[in-house]
């Protein structure tokens, strides 16, 4: 199997008045063609920044990004333009990610206009095809975003992302702003489109139930770092990192008979500004010891299941 996208030791730091903010800190993983990688973590863990760096909406501070085996860390202008066609994004907020002064059709056609390869007639035909594909009625062609509900707006955003037949789509919390009945429609649509077009997704979300439903593999992020990476089934069958365990146990489940052992974490995510070298979760971890002050490497603990915790074997009695 070949990786479509790969990142190695990727870093993104932001300068702030109080010091260096380590938003993404030494992250490595790869996504195979046609698969979905879920990135899950709480607000401020750097998951959205990671995606934005990968598709070059932000510049990286260090490390490298590969697309189809090619190093795209510092693409030239022309290369970047081609990459934009291959790598797309679906935004979280369907309200602020559409231009309020453009109609549905104009929004969907804009990437086609920019590419310069389509005649007016072809653009209209493409827009029609894309609208049908994402399930927007043709009669809404000339509607403006404010006339549409959240679910339809998100469909417009998806059609726009698909316009130039991308290979990779970064889905940044695409259903978080939607009601449950609508969110299910959009999740199903994303799965159908993946099957139809052979798309590769990176799906960023804070919702564990959603990420479990849609992903083949999952990376759990905490303060800019991956603390656990594993195939989805394996991760939920046997979460190994103390943070992942707490995170999964914290999800309220719509099932009144499931008695679960809840791990309540003390405190909250600490500041990502000038973090100490050791495990960043140690301050909230009930297993933390002296040795956790050392940097933690992501190690393969079980086949395909990597964890960044020096006490993982001890804690899980492996």
């Amino acid at each position: 199997m070949s990786a479509l996208v790969e990142v190695r030791n990727l870093k993104k730091y932001f300068e702030t008045p109080r010091g260096m903010l380590h938003a993404v800190d030494d992250v490595s993983f790869s996504i195979e063609k046609g698969k979905t990688l879920g990135i899950v973590g709480e607000s401020g863990c750097g998951k959205s920044t990671l995606g934005r760096v990968m598709i070059h909406l932000l510049d990286s501070t260090g490390g490298s990004i590969y697309f189809e085996g090619e190093d795209i860390t510092n693409p030239g202008r022309r290369k970047l333009r081609r990459l934009r066609e291959d790598m797309q994004i679906i935004f979280q907020d369907p309200y602020s990610s559409l231009n309020p002064r453009m109609t549905v059709e104009q929004t969907i056609m804009e990437p086609l206009v920019i590419s310069g390869r389509y005649s007016k007639k072809e653009r209209q035909r493409e827009a029609e095809r894309l609208m049908a594909m994402v399930g927007i009625d043709q009669r809404l062609r000339l509607s403006y975003p404010h006339e549409l509900d959240g679910g339809r707006r998100q469909r417009v955003g998806i059609a726009r992302a698909l316009a130039l037949n991308p290979k990779f789509i970064f889905c940044d919390e695409p259903v978080s702003a939607l009601d449950v009945s609508i969110s299910a429609q959009v999740l199903n649509l994303l799965q159908d489109l993946q099957d139809q077009c052979g798309l590769t997704y990176m799906f960023v979300t804070h919702d564990l139930s959603v990420v479990r439903h849609i992903s083949d593999d999952i990376c759990v992020m905490y303060l800019g770092q991956i603390v656990e990476a594993s195939p989805t089934k394996e991760l939920f069958r046997q979460p190994l990192h103390p943070y992942t365990q707490a995170l999964i146990s914290a999800v309220p489940v719509p099932d009144i008979h499931r008695k679960k052992q809840r791990i309540i974490l003390e405190g909250e995510i600490t500041s990502p500004i000038n973090p100490k070298p050791g495990c960043r979760f140690a301050a909230r971890c009930r297993y933390a010891r002296e040795e956790c002050q050392q940097p933690q490497a992501l190690e393969e603990v079980l086949p395909g299941h990597r964890v960044a915790c020096c006490r993982v074997r001890e804690v899980n009695a492996l």
Binding site: D179, A184, N188, R212, H213, A246, V251, L265
Partner: protein, 327 residues
């Protein structure tokens, strides 16, 4: 549950409308429910279902205009809150009934120390000296797990989860008999949500507070509530004990909601979304408001008004097609 007289809180035939330009928005269309002392009722539904309007009507904090309470009674301990003079109502808000709002970032005054904000509620409703008020503030903060010396901090010095704790401390400061929590954990991260839910459950037990919990999250409701009301288009479509509604969901909308959410412990290859969209509250469908999205709908559902009927003791459902649930 409906009709059990002498309930602590009894809401009867509540109708609330909003007027916008020339349109009338039917937000709440005849809602009735009872809440017993010490119990928690969950109001579940999607955006625009009317959950918050119901809550705000109980406290009478709906802006009028555009909102208008067209009909209904809200009995708290036998007194109809909707008929009280505003002056009396003020004594009830914050003391007998208080509310926790969804967004802790906007529920606090940004230029006032959190301690002073809590003290304000206390002094308003109790004859206490400044020092006594201060002592109670510190006790309240400690109850919700915030060190008392942070009373002199401003809201921006707290994180989201801590701000929500401050809001909860404020809501509980006068020992209310009824607490209305409107999506209290929606703006919080999961691990913080777990902390806050655990705290709410603990405080409820400790103070024996009755509670109405508004949420769109079935998981949150499962954790906190005793009874459940599912709200759709301003009506309660299903009402019953948590056990009845979770084990034997009957209304097609309730059934649809359960099918539409991915579950952490359940391998669904595909979700089964509810087709279509929630109705436009200024132009509600005739008959059963859910009929355009309902897989069971027939002509009857389109033409006639559907009453809430008891399908098993204490379990009510607004549907003529749904069959009696199996145990």
């Amino acid at each position: 549950m409906v009709n059990s007289n002498g309930a602590f809180l009894s809401v009867r035939d509540l109708v609330v409308e909003y007027t916008a330009e020339d349109q009338v928005i039917h937000a709440v269309n005849g809602v009735s429910f009872d809440l017993e002392r010490g119990k928690t009722l969950g109001l579940v539904g999607e955006t625009g279902a009317g959950k918050t309007s119901i809550a705000k009507t109980i406290l009478r904090i709906l802006p009028d205009p555009p909102a208008r309470i067209r009909n209904g009674e809200v009995y708290l301990d036998g007194v109809d809150l909707l008929k009280l003079p505003e002056k009396e109502m003020r004594k009830i808000r914050g003391r007998k009934v208080s509310m926790i709002f969804q967004d802790p970032m906007t529920a606090l005054n940004p230029i006032m120390k959190v301690g002073s904000q809590i003290a304000e509620v206390i002094s308003l409703h109790n004859k206490v000296s400044k020092r006594e008020a201060r002592e109670r503030v510190i006790r309240m903060l400690e109850t919700v797990g915030i060190p008392g010396d942070r009373a002199d901090d401003y809201p921006h010095q707290f994180s989201g989860g801590m701000k929500q704790r401050v809001v909860i401390a404020m809501a509980l400061a006068c020992n209310p008999e009824l607490l209305i929590a409107d999506e209290p954990t929606t703006a919080l991260d999961v691990t913080i949500q777990a902390q806050v839910l655990e705290m709410i459950n603990k405080l409820k037990d400790e103070f024996q507070t009755s509670m109405i919990m508004i949420s769109h999250n079935l998981g949150v409701v499962a954790e906190v509530c005793d009874d459940l009301a599912v709200v759709y288009a301003g009506e309660i479509v299903e009402l019953g004990s948590k056990e009845a509604v979770f084990d034997r969901p009957t209304h097609p909308y309730t059934v649809g909601l359960f099918g539409a959410v991915p579950n952490l412990y359940d391998d669904k290859e595909r979700l089964s979304p509810i087709i279509g969209l929630p109705p436009d509250p200024s132009n509600l469908p005739s008959g059963c408001h859910f009929h355009p999205r309902c897989p069971l709908a027939t002509e009857e559902c389109r033409s006639q008004k559907i009453p809430l009927r008891e399908i098993e003791p204490g379990h009510f459902c607004r549907c003529i097609k749904a069959t009696r649930p199996e145990g």
